[in-house]
């Protein structure tokens, strides 16, 4: 996926999610959020992507959260079922897991990196 480094993984549960996303946590909790892991990946040229993998109690909860956070210009990612991206944010759902990737350095290479990272995250997870 081309990343040069990754920060230490931070873990959050229903108690601590506010520390990561502040007021946005309420929507997650209402939809059955269970836990999350988060990390930031660094690429060449100091480009960075923030990765959040949220686990919900149900597929429906994960899907609803993804739909609720869909960027206005998001479109389906070809060849990647259930993933949507607008070039700066990529959202994907697999079962009860909701993956949210955000480019912290938007640019022409960002979308390719988002897709590669999302695919790698789900491939590793299902291994």
């Amino acid at each position: 996926m081309g990343a040069l480094a990754r920060t230490e993984t931070a873990r959050y549960d229903r108690d601590s999610l506010y520390e990561a996303i502040d007021g946005a946590a309420d929507g997650y909790l209402a939809r059955g959020f269970v836990s999350a892991v988060m990390a930031t990946y660094t690429y060449a040229g100091a480009a960075e992507i923030s990765a959040e993998l949220h686990r919900f109690g149900s597929e429906a909860g994960a899907g609803e959260q993804s739909a609720g956070e869909r960027p206005s210009a998001a479109r389906s990612v070809p060849g990647f079922e259930g993933a949507e991206s607008d070039g700066t944010v990529l959202l994907a759902v697999r079962g009860r897991d909701y993956l949210k990737l955000t480019s912290l350095t938007p640019g022409p290479e960002a979308e390719g990196r988002l897709v590669a990272l999302a695919q790698a995250a789900f491939q590793e997870k299902t291994r």
Binding site: T9, R11, D13, R14, D15, Y18, E19, A20, I21, D22, G23, A24, A25, D26, G27, L29, V34, S35, V37, A39, T40, S50, A51, L53, R55, F56, G57, E69, P71, S72, A73, A74, D86, G87, T88, V89, R96, D97, L99, T102, S103, L104, T105, P106, A121, E124, K125, R127
Partner: protein
């Protein structure tokens, strides 16, 4: 990203807030059966130990404008025009005073992603305060994300320092207990609130998942330390409480870019609208109302604005905001 927690996701585990709600219920029940005297005695004792938040406003005549809004491609010019229409920074900051400028620097996001206050707006305010004779100008915020990353990526660290401010964040901020009306004991605030004579609130206008919008009053969350998440309960009332507690010298609303959805953290450029406007005001409710209209929202549809007006914190009448037009 592969090592998801293994605890059974269906196991019921109440959140801290659910626990807090249960404790409140227990406390109410105890008071009802005779434990109230002790409960309130303890509360008085705790509040007496913590200082009250100062009032940083300056006296103004009834004829003075309550707010002014400027539009144009240069955020710094918008700040200068808006503040000048209120009488200039000299009307608010006197020679030798210390000024705290409180932006929203909560997120590890670029200015283009519109989660934090635009650095050009903050830098211009620093320059105006220095020119007015301030001996010390501090820019500070307690970030949600990593404070170093947030202050750096937002551009606020470099912009504010270059303009002559001290920038304090993360562990360089000292927290002290404070008494906040309507809130339970145990909250902390940054000590700069007690050492600075003037405070300028500089929020960005953006969407918020709970309150639909966040402007100035909710921006005070960034001066609170331990316990601030409790204030997300009953968000409209809590935001109005913040507005009642923190009475800034000036509110400067940054609508250079406005985050229309997925706030407060944002991230997607497609959620951002370029508005190129800044408003300054002494009426925090008017500033709030003007801010949400930049998102296309009706101020009367937002509970925290209605609640704040009911409490007499200001007026949402947009005719009170002087429109300076586009430069």
């Amino acid at each position: 990203m592969t090592d998801l927690p293994t605890r059974d996701p269906y196991e019921e585990k109440p959140t801290r807030r659910e626990m807090a709600a249960r404790l409140v219920s227990t406390g109410v029940a105890a008071a009802a059966v005779g434990g109230g005297a002790l409960f309130f005695h303890d509360r008085r004792h705790l509040e007496a130990a913590a200082p009250e938040i100062p009032d940083w406003r300056v006296p103004r005549s009834d004829a003075a404008p309550r707010g002014a809004a400027a539009r144009g491609a240069d955020p710094a010019a918008n700040v200068r025009r808006a503040v000048a229409a209120l009488g200039g920074m000299e009307a608010f900051v006197k020679k030798g005073e210390s000024v705290l400028i409180k932006p929203n620097a909560g997120w590890d996001r670029l200015p283009e992603q519109a989660a934090n206050t635009d650095p050009k707006v903050v830098a211009e305010l620093v320059r105006l305060c220095k020119r007015a004779g301030a001996k010390r100008v501090v820019v500070a915020d307690l970030s949600v994300n990593d404070p170093v990353r947030s202050m750096t990526r937002s551009g606020l660290l470099e912009a504010a320092r270059s303009a002559g401010a001290e920038v304090l964040y993360g562990k360089s901020l000292k927290l002290v207990p404070a008494s906040l009306a309507g809130s339970s004991a145990g909250l902390e605030v940054i000590d700069l609130l007690f050492s600075c004579q003037r405070v300028i609130n500089v929020p960005i206008v953006k969407h918020h998942g709970l309150s639909r919008a966040t402007v100035g009053m909710k921006n005070w969350m960034g001066v609170l330390g331990r316990g601030r998440n409790r204030l997300h309960q009953g968000i409209d009332r809590a935001v109005a409480e913040l507005g009642a507690t923190f009475r800034p010298t000036l509110t400067v609303v940054d609508a250079t870019r406005v985050l229309l959805s997925n706030g407060p953290q944002g991230g997607s450029l497609s959620d951002v609208k370029l508005v190129n406007a800044v408003a300054a005001g002494t009426d925090p409710v008017l500033c709030e109302a003007w801010g949400v209209t930049q998102m296309g929202l009706d101020p009367s549809s937002l509970g925290f604005i209605t609640e704040a007006e009911k409490r007499g914190l200001g007026r949402r009448d947009l005719s009170l905001m002087r429109d300076l037009g586009t430069a």
